[in-house]
């Protein structure tokens, strides 16, 4: 092998650079996202239920929001009937955010962790609270 030592040193340096982020972060645990639901409105609720079960909302809130958008904007239907038969006004700003007034600790917590970029807040206003 010509220039064997140089190649081997080069390979070691290369491997070191490539694996550096993994080695550097070894053993460090990234803080798990913990969306907070301790807003004043939620604390006053007797039964702390979202419009659907927690598991459903965790897995499907994005599809639900897309469906809500189409129902209101395209079809003019503003009432959502959940799986229990309860009725809710369809509105991101006036229904979701009424309870979840802490966008930073609630929405952003997971979205930032997963590097999910939403366009919701380009137009929709987050509540002041």
């Amino acid at each position: 092998m010509y220039n064997g030592s140089k190649i081997i040193v080069g390979l070691i340096v290369f491997a070191g650079i490539v694996t550096f982020p993994f080695i550097y972060n070894l053993g460090k645990v990234n803080a798990k996202p913990e969306p907070k639901i301790d807003t004043p409105v939620i604390q006053q609720l007797k039964e702390k239920n979202c419009i659907e079960s927690k598991e459903f909302m965790k897995a499907n809130h994005m599809q639900l929001l897309n469906k809500w958008r189409d129902m209101v904007v395209r079809n003019g239907k503003r009432v959502y009937v959940n799986s229990k038969g309860e009725k809710y006004e369809i509105s991101l700003q006036n229904t979701c955010l009424k309870c979840h007034s802490n966008k930073k600790e609630f929405c952003d917590e997971c979205h930032n962790y997963m590097s999910v970029k939403t366009h919701c807040w380009n137009c929709h206003l987050e509540s002041k609270g």
Partner: protein, 260 residues
Amino acid sequence: MVMSYESKANRRQFLKILGFSTLSGLGSIPAIWALTPQFAIRNLQSEKRWAMVVDMKKFRTEEDYKKCIDACHTIHNVPDFGNPKDEVKWIWKMPYRNTFPEQEDEYISDGVKQMPFMVLCNHCKNPPCVRVCPTKATFKRIDGIVQMDYHRCIGCRFCMAACPYGSRSFNFREPRPFIKEKNPEYPTRTRGVVEKCNFCEERLSKGLSPACVEACKDNKALIFGDLNDPDSEVRKVLESNYTIRRKPELGTQPGVYYIV
């Protein structure tokens, strides 16, 4: 299951309709109708037709115009950029010669000639903006409201070129810093989308009248209602007054009438 789109026909019905319509020479059109969720809605087209009458005799002072405009622009978070080039407007004042350019009368009263008219989106029966929109971001609702889906708008501005009334504004700049006081119950728009009057469809759904109509209800300068209801106030006003509409020769069939 919580989330499922209601479909009008199941597979069996669909195949039946397809078979019969092919045999009868109609092709697949009836089968496609049967699959379209809006099929039932389309048949209800004549249920409501929202319209407005602008009584220009009631607009006397600057304040009469201002309160209508302010009511609308405040609740809909309409930005004020402070210059006419970037202006965003849902309801605004327009001189007579621009409002009714086809009226060529040279010798009319100075009162009319100098009077600014209260103009807004006409919510046409044949809206040219809807025809040109490449993404169907602008569409006509069954109750006649020409509505925008800002989620879909790509900012191509074809609709602005198509609208003969100048009812549409483009957000050349980020509008948020230019909204004095934001209404937390209504969204803003973002840079790069077109916006316009929505006949306050968010208020109509709650049984309220549009914000501009409510703002000047003490002198009834704006009258709003359903054209398909013979007992509605707009129908009564239209029957008892001579009204004109903007650029009727274009065949757009505007939903905003003017008492001059």
